[in-house]
Symmetry: C2
Subunit: 485 residues, 2 copies
């Protein structure tokens, strides 16, 4: 077992080990009934004393997370530890260490739940609202015109024809980029991961919003970089805190979701955007800008009034930009795009070539007509007017039914709603009851790169069918109101 | 700049730094004319003395790889260093370190060459020989039956229906696996990378064949694990050398391509397979088995006489198995599968969820009818009889035209031919002449995880059209024969 330990500071090593193992248990990497390494093995793996290992297990036991069984070892707690566990043919795998600090997406995914659960967790738009007929027509046309692309590899950066239509699309979003600045990725998540692997290691500091997209936290943690959370306010990441930090440490990179931040929904102001770039230039830091929701604006007049992407303000190739299409166009195809400049671009492209040799050529060819279709902008406008209506229903229901002790904000765009419970409540502990009643949401704790706040939760109000949403929201209100009482 | 240094042993630190930078220059991560970090920056990044950094740059300069310019710094050498270089708006990126040790695939890819070059490097089968009509029919049928899958995410491990047909396919290859042992990946390359990231870190030893698949070397190097090359003979990886090694160090994992090894084409015997597994059990090591070519057998009676995959002999969930489909079915779709057991499976699945949230659902749905099509096995038989004929033509041409001082083996299967020049020749240095004459091949040096042997090259004889291959082979023979004379 590998746990990143910081020997220079508080909390103590035993506390750090306890927290690391607790995170693995919570995220499902260690399953109920699974045996932990012996204290001797743990001490050796982590380079700590036997006493520290014993104390760490003691803390975990005191917190009810593990149970030690006389003569057999220490196990992740469950109602009853199966006595057959020692007959597990794969038991030897226990001694094989790994480098996975957490995997919140995996543990929280609704995929593991029964299909009848109403899913307020997954960040997607119900398929009835997606441009499936445009996609089908595009695929049909590619089958006729580019069948050979089924039998060929793509260039690592992507198919030139696809890159050109994507560049055209980005142009309409306010970003002038050439195809030589673009790399096609398997969704935004791969873009985050490529950045993390290329630029972050154990001695590098990454500053990121807190709370933040949990998948990004997972990818950054896997790079073993040092992650520093920076709180967000209504205008985005708090610069004065970033500035204080930079007096204490060298910040290598800053990760932000400036437009409809995930999970809070806040939009970084133009002034803050400019100041963030000035800060990055002064600090010699990179910026990773993740913008999956720009198109999903609930303002009356489209994206016109949104401040431009940071990448459009980039003075010197400092911003690496990520655009995902899974959120509102085609989750079933998993393609996104990364934009960067200069040596940063070359290194990210080399990383892409190492991790999977490039994204599927045929999928890219199959999407060329889609991005050229003049109906695409009209589809997005129509989608936004449907979502605007839906967001009003959501706001009505919550205003009417939710206890005034529970805070939330009317969404301006994107697909999330961040709900804050009174401080004494723990959203994780409400999940079992929610599941019993037939709904699923994401507990806020997984959105914190550092010390979690547990009195929040995130719901996605675009994932369910029209007919399912009202019931799911009412059920959510009931669960939360009862907890408050 | 990040270079993995081993402070405990030979060669000296300055030699290691020189070798690390040389590898980056050769693999194109550092481009001609690009500025290197200052010696002060380098010394700080790597935690070495200023003197060591100065000496490392001195070695690079002596070897003609870099040039230092009075008052400006040290630059990767090219014919003339552009004096505008200092006006580069991205020059500040120089100070941003990265973690990419090498990217051979990226640097050697024929994608960078002019399109008229005849490509004997890319390991693929000419698209006219691939089952494109079966694929088109399958996609058409999925468009009708599963359009909603365009608008949905897949479970991280893959679509259950697709996993089931893949399990059926593997069954016919001699592997009985349930869908709960499988994870769909973006080609084999992603499977290698998932394994490397999950299980390898700076303190872990990975033993691998030498020479070996260059993309695997890149992925293992990116994990910063300690890679130990083990020579192969005609029966595969040399066990007595592995055994010697295991007396000196704890081997965590072993990577092998047992069936039609890349690049040598050797097939590991059944006896060696069993002994390798026994060794791994005794050493407590994992085995990563990569099997992209099993189906491509040139023996008369199909795959029947091949020894079974290591995974079929796996006693205790020790073998992680990778099957790629890009080589002979659909390079344009980039899907492969990984098989594992127990906690190893869970950890690899968590890693997959972190790196890209799963492979595209719709592609998987689009391939279900393809794998169910009874014509698929017939297609593979027909392909093999075409390849058998082609391999005879290749062997005829080489026997007839190639100098007897050059050694090669008649292929038994797979798609590669490993050519050995007399020891005084360097295949890398023949590439410019080959390009001038209109062909491209892979120099053998990129296939070595440790110290490279430079007198080999790999050609792929399945990538060109029927009409192009004879001319390309004759041109290759001319280039090699002239070098020998």
């Amino acid at each position: 077992m590998k746990i990143d330990l910081d020997r220079s500071k508080e909390p103590s090593l035993r506390e750090q080990i306890c927290a690391g193992i607790a995170e693995r248990i919570r995220s499902g990497l260690l399953q109920p009934g699974e045996q932990l390494p012996s204290v001797r093995q743990l001490a050796q793996d982590l380079g700590v004393s036997l006493m520290t290992a014993v104390q760490a297990y003691g803390l975990l036991e005191k917190r009810g997370l593990v149970e030690s069984v006389q003569g057999r070892g220490t196990f992740v707690r469950e109602r009853a530890i199966a006595t057959e566990a020692s007959g597990d043919p794969f038991g030897w795998q226990l001694a094989i260490g790994d480098y996975l600090p957490r995997a919140s997406f995996w543990s929280q995914s609704a995929v593991r739940l029964p299909p009848e659960i109403l899913d307020l967790a997954t960040a997607s738009i119900h398929h009835s609202l997606l441009p499936l007929p445009l996609l089908e027509a595009s695929i049909q046309s590619a089958l006729k015109q580019a069948p050979q692309s089924l039998g060929r590899y793509a260039p690592f950066q992507g198919d030139p024809e696809f890159l050109a239509v994507v560049a055209g699309y980005l142009q309409r979003q306010g970003l002038s980029l050439s195809t030589h600045q673009l790399i096609i990725t398997n969704g935004t998540q791969q873009g985050i991961d490529l950045f993390a692997r290329t630029f972050l290691g154990p001695n590098d500091v990454l500053a990121m919003e807190a709370p933040a997209f949990s998948g990004a936290i997972d990818a950054f943690r896997l790079s073993h970089g040092h992650i520093v959370p920076v709180p967000v306010d209504r205008e985005g990441i708090r610069l004065e805190i970033l500035e204080d930090l930079s007096l204490q440490m060298r910040i290598k990179a800053i990760y932000v979701v400036p437009t409809y931040q995930n999970p809070t929904g806040s939009v970084m102001s133009l002034q803050r955007r400019k100041a963030l770039i000035d800060f990055a230039v002064a600090a010699g830091a990179l910026i990773l800008e993740d913008e999956p929701h720009r198109e999903l604006t609930l303002a009356d007049k489209g994206t016109g009034r949104l401040p431009p992407p940071l990448k459009a303000l980039d003075p010197d190739g400092r911003v690496v930009y990520l655009k995902g299409f899974s959120k509102f166009l085609f989750p079933g195809l998993r393609l996104g795009v990364l934009a960067a400049d200069g040596a940063l671009y070359r290194r990210l492209l080399a990383a892409k070539s190492i991790v999977d040799l490039g994204s599927p050529l045929w999928l890219q060819k199959a999407l060329v007509p889609f991005f050229q279709n003049p109906q695409l902008p009209r589809y997005i406008d129509r989608l936004n007017s449907i979502l605007l209506q839906r967001s009003r229903q959501v706001a009505d229901t919550l205003s009417r039914r939710l206890s005034p002790a529970i805070r939330w904000q009317r969404p301006q765009g994107g697909m999330h709603l961040w709900v804050t419970l009174p401080p004494f409540l723990d959203a994780d502990s409400l999940l079992p009851e929610a599941h019993r009643r037939g709904i699923h949401f994401l507990p806020g704790s997984i959105f914190y790169p550092g010390e979690p706040e547990s009195n929040h939760l995130r719901i996605c109000w675009t994932n369910l069918a029209d007919a399912e949403l009202p019931g799911a929201l009412e059920c959510l209100c009931d669960v939360l109101n009862e907890a408050v009482r």
